[in-house]
Point group: C2
Chain length 194, copies 2
């Protein structure tokens, strides 16, 4: 297999992320959102919300990070934010899947993608933190927009939502008021149990 063939194999493998279902729904008959379209949505939010980052950020890095951040789900599916589960174990499984996925790429491209994936995971840089903020906001907005009143089949508790999204206050203070309003409106709509 030559270099380009390995790259095409990777590109073909990416098809599978379109089959990874999330708990969020879409506007067309409320089918489950998949991780590929979710990742597109996040990437689109970067140029729009970048002015609210604490420090100037490298948009290319944030966008690439968001494009690849869910690729660890490609063989085993998404793990849900509100699920009780061993986070360390999930992270390890997703890292293994990610490495398997990128295995057909040339070494320099494997490094680039793995670095982006790990930068998002370890959450030390401003880019990684802002990417995490974006990844936390989109499902909130989607949920409020797409769900019917009092639709809470999984019995999500409002307290859990506040707990999971609280980091936005530190990571992107200029976006916190909006997040607060979104959560409060969702509670009023009956999407989270008080």
């Amino acid at each position: 297999m030559n270099i380009l063939q390995g790259q095409i194999q990777f590109i073909n493998e990416l098809e599978k992320l379109k089959t990874v279902k999330r708990r969020n729904l879409t506007l067309d008959n409320k089918r489950p959102e998949n991780s590929a379209e979710h990742s597109w949505h996040l990437a689109m939010m970067v140029p729009v919300l970048a002015p609210y980052s604490k420090t100037p950020i490298d948009q290319l890095k944030v966008i690439k990070m968001l494009l690849v951040h869910d690729l660890g789900e490609i063989y085993d599916g998404d793990s849900w934010l509100y699920e009780q589960s061993d986070q360390k174990e999930i992270q390890q499984k997703e890292l293994t899947a990610f490495k398997r996925l990128i295995g057909s790429l040339p070494a320099n491209q494997q490094s680039e993608l793995l670095d982006l994936f790990m930068e998002f995971e370890v959450q030390e840089t401003e880019e990684a933190k802002f990417a995490k903020v974006i990844d936390a906001i989109q499902p909130l907005l989607n949920h409020l927009q797409v769900s019917d009143e009092n639709e809470n089949p999984d019995g999500i508790a409002a307290s859990k939502v506040w707990e999971k999204k609280a980091f936005v206050r530190d990571y992107a203070p200029d976006l916190w008021l909006m997040v607060e309003e979104t959560i409060n409106e969702s509670i009023r709509k009956g999407l989270y149990q008080e």
Copy 2:
């Protein structure tokens, strides 16, 4: 409406691209691919295939161009590559839709996105040309990968495919052999009528 509210309105409006169906199919029960996940796939291809561009390209620009390039379909749907139709009219309609979509953003962000959208449309820069190459390759790869043997419900003619994809030879000569092989393999698989 303050600036951030206008930006959130835009982000919510983006949900609709997930409902725009394309002719290409996906691996999960062969549902139609939507333009949001398609755009994600294209953006992912940029760091992988950038080494094959004729001149060094601005990856951020190419990625952003591909993220927004289908947003003109958001209110009226996708127009199919092999359809007989008035291209000028479609372009005008998509531009109108795009402007309507971005209308809730602050002026500087409207300009940025409109410039990216138009740069892709007018096809003068190396970034726009490379973005067009990526946009031409992904459906070919997807089609060969996902379709069953002899599946050609729309009776696509091989000659049409060669005609529509021929520009890749000039725009990205280093990718042409791969494109040729992909089309020939698709013909052998019965996906295009000879």
